[in-house]
Symmetry: C2
């Protein structure tokens, strides 16, 4: 028996029965995928949703490169792994080769009002949530390093991005092959302050 979420993939355009609360609470970062392809039309729908994220001055600066070519994905892995920070060595990017597609969320800096990264990240947030609502899994990988430009530059070169188009995030997508484990959340009361930050509130682990 396939779980209901996967079953709904046979009708991708009707697969949006998850409410916002259900989707946000149920979404997890997924790094293991089944080998089946993503049904026709689903990624276009997800991109259509993602581009509805807010953007500075409604500039709608986002564009999307949907990468299915195995050579391009392999080159992306190589670039990402070469830029893996010391504290993230346990999380190499190899797993994205198992994704049916990797969506590179990019922004046109000419339409971004100097808020391209924010607009791209907001779009990636909606893309990830919509993917979950449509029965797919994925996770967020950054496509730039704020401290130095070579990660973004290498991705730009690989994807033939014109000068004004900059990569912001990489979102591997596929049908999940792992269940979302319950997530241990920090204590909510330690994260909420009123009017000003209150250092007397105990902060949870």
């Amino acid at each position: 028996m396939r779980p209901a979420k996967l079953k709904r993939m046979t009708q991708p355009m009707d697969a949006t029965q998850l409410t916002v609360d259900e989707a946000i609470m149920g979404r997890r970062s997924i790094r293991r995928f089944r080998s089946e392809p993503i049904p026709e039309g689903v990624i276009d729908r997800l991109i259509d949703l993602a581009r509805h994220a807010p953007s500075s001055m409604d500039g709608q600066p986002c564009c999307f490169v949907v990468i299915r070519d195995r050579d391009v994905v392999a080159a992306l892995v190589k670039i990402k792994n070469a830029h893996l920070p010391p504290d993230k060595q346990a999380y190499p990017a190899d797993f994205i080769t198992g994704a049916a597609a990797v969506v590179a969320v990019c922004v046109d800096s000419g339409r971004a009002y100097k808020r391209g990264r924010e607009s791209g990240i907001l779009a990636a947030a909606y893309l990830l949530l919509a993917a979950h609502a449509h029965g797919l899994g994925g996770c967020y990988l950054t496509a730039y390093n704020a401290e130095e430009g070579s990660l973004a530059a290498e991705i730009s070169e690989l994807l033939n991005l014109p000068e004004e188009i900059v990569p912001v995030a990489l979102v591997p997508l596929g049908i999940p092959a792992e269940a979302a484990a319950p997530k241990q959340m920090r204590t909510l009361s330690g994260l909420v302050h009123h009017d000003r930050y209150d250092q007397t509130i105990p902060v949870g682990d």
Copy 2:
């Protein structure tokens, strides 16, 4: 007759009937608010949802300052307006005084794995979408300028943020007093590329 969305606010914890697609497609940036307060418990629920956004290494670095104090909101307006870029002079922040609350999305840089801004922006994206699903309106305002630190520093000082807590976004929230006008979207086909960016695809306005 109040529209259905507002009517549902009398049962905020059941007000999550919007699907992800409906919420993303129906959400707009709202800058005019009714004077009624936000029903008890709704903002806590929205924050609970927002903190479920993905974060680097699951560090869950976000915390939230819920600002209702009129003096603090007035001081925020002053700070934001003093930092208004030349091309955004038509959009001063005065409207946030009409919001029932302004949520400052902040991150603990000690838990952020150098990805604090991304984590904060992802949380703000979910906060905005959840707000819409719960009958509220809001919009995204930045709390930092990547090119110079004084905007974030002034907000940090106003909100008594400790050194390691940095502000990322400001989200005014309230019951909408304006309808979401249909949004003119760019041509989708001009925003989607396959495997590599294709400069021959006509880009819509």
